[in-house]
Amino acid sequence: MQLSRRQLMGSLALASLTALVPQIARAQDAPLAKRIPSSGEALPIVGLGSWITFNVGDDPVARDSSAEVMKAFFDGGGRMIDSSPMYGSAQGVIGYCLQKTGNAASVFSTDKVWIANGDGGPEQIEQTRLLWGIDRFDLLQVHNLVAWEAHLNALKAMKSEGKLRYVGITTSHGRRHGELEKIMRNHDLDFVQLTYNIADREAEDRLLPLAQERGIAVIANRPFRRKELIHRFEDQKLPDWAEEIGAANWAQFLLKFVISHPAITCAIPATTQVDHVRENLRSARDPLPDEKTRQRMVAYIREL
C-alpha cells in the first residue's frame, strides 16, 4: 500500500506522539489502551465491572439485557470484564452472556478468589471457571486481601504452570491500604485493584506511585462510587473547558479523570445500560486531561 505525503506525515506525527506517551497504545476507532507493565500487552483503559449489575439471577429477560450490554462493550472495543464469587449470580450471567455474544475468546477475563479457607481457593476458582465457560482466566486476584498469603501462593503456582496469565490482589472503599502497600513491596504482582475516583484519591499518595515504581498494573474500581458521584453532580453545570478534554457529560468527566492518571491501567465502571457502556467507552478516547487539567478538575469539583 502506498502512502500519500500527508498520510506519511500523519503517521510520523502519530508515531512521535506514541513515543512521547509510550504507555498508551492506539488503534483506529478503538478505545485507548495502556500497556500491562509486566508483559507489555495492551489493554483498553475502560473495562466492565459486574457488581450488582450482572447479579440478575435466572431472570431470562434481565440476562438477555445483560448480554446486550456485553455486546455493546465488545462492539465498542472493550476487553476486561471483572467479577467475583462475592457477586451472587454475576459469574454465571457473565458466562451466559459470553456464550450468547460469542466473545469468550476476546474477553480479558478477570475474576477473584474470595474464601476464608486458604485451602479452598483452587476449588472455588474451578467453579468460577466453569461458570464463565472459559479455558483459563487472564487475571485472578485475591479479593479484599482475604486469606491473601495462601491464595497468592496458589495463584502464583497456577501462573507458573501456565493455567493463569496474571496475578493480582484487590481492595476497595479505601480500606487496608497499609497492608496492600506491604504486599505490593514484597511480592511480584501483575495487577492491583483499588478504589480510585475524583472523590477518593487516597491511593495517589503512596499506592499509585508505588505501582508505577514496581511495574504493577492498576485497576480502578468504583470510578463513580457506584452512581453516587454522577447523582451528586448531575444538576450542576459542567465547566466550559470540559469540551477541551472531550467530556460531554459528568460521567465522561469523572471517568476521564480516573483513566488519565498515569498509574491507572484500566477502570471498570458497571452498568445495566447499553447507552452508558458506549458512553464509558467513548471516554477512553483522546483528549485525556493532562496533570494540570486534572488538578483543575479536582479544584472545580471542590467548589461545587
Partner: protein, 228 residues
Amino acid sequence: MSEWWAYHPSDLLMFAPQTYYRLFELYNASLWPAQILTLAAGVAIATLMVGGPRWRGRLIAALLAFVWLLVALGYFMDRYAAINLAAPYFAWGFFLQAVLLAVVGSIRGHITFHGGKTRTAKTGLAVFVFALLVQPFMGPLFGRAWSGVELFGLAPDPTVVGTLGVLLAADRIRWELLVIPVLWCAISGATLWIMESPEALLMPLAGLLILLLGASKSLTPQEFQRRD
C-alpha cells in the same frame, strides 16, 4: 468481613431494586396456582382466630409452620439465594421458626385463643387481615407490577406480619416465637430502606407495634384486659 464500619449500608446491597422486585414476578409465575392454596390457608387462619374448636390454636400453628417452611424453601432457597449470599441463612431462620411454631403451638398446644374479644386480640386479627389482604397490594400501589404481588404464605414480609398478628391475638404472648419475626422486620426494613422503597418503614413499624402491644398485654393481668 474486615473493617465493616468502613462500609456504607448501601455497599452491602448486592442486587438492584428491579432485580429484587422481578424475583417476585418470576416466583409467582413459577408457583401458580399455589397462591390459591396459601390464600385459603390464610382465610382458614383468620376464621379460626375468630372462633372454632378448642384445638384451633394447634391447627393455626400448624398452618403457620407450613407457610414458614414454604417461604424458607420456595422463596429463600430456590429464589432469593440466586442474588443474595445471605439468603441461605435467612432460610435457616425461617425453617427454625417453622419448627418452633410446630413444637410450641401444634405439639405442646401453647398457642390458644379463648379471649378473642379483647382489644389486643382484635388488633391481632386486624394485623393478620392486613397482611393477608392489604399488604400484597403495596407493590402495585407504588407502581410495581401486579404479577409481583407479595402474598401471605409465599413471600416473607406478609407471612411475618400475619404471624405477628396471630401471636398478638393469642391468649398469651409467646416471646420465643416473636424473636425471628421481629428480627426479619428489621432485616427487611433495612433492605427496603437501602433500596429507597416507599414502604421501607412498614415492616419495622409492624414489628415495633407488636412488641409494644405484646409487652402491654403481658404486663396486664388477663382479667383486666379491655373487652369492647
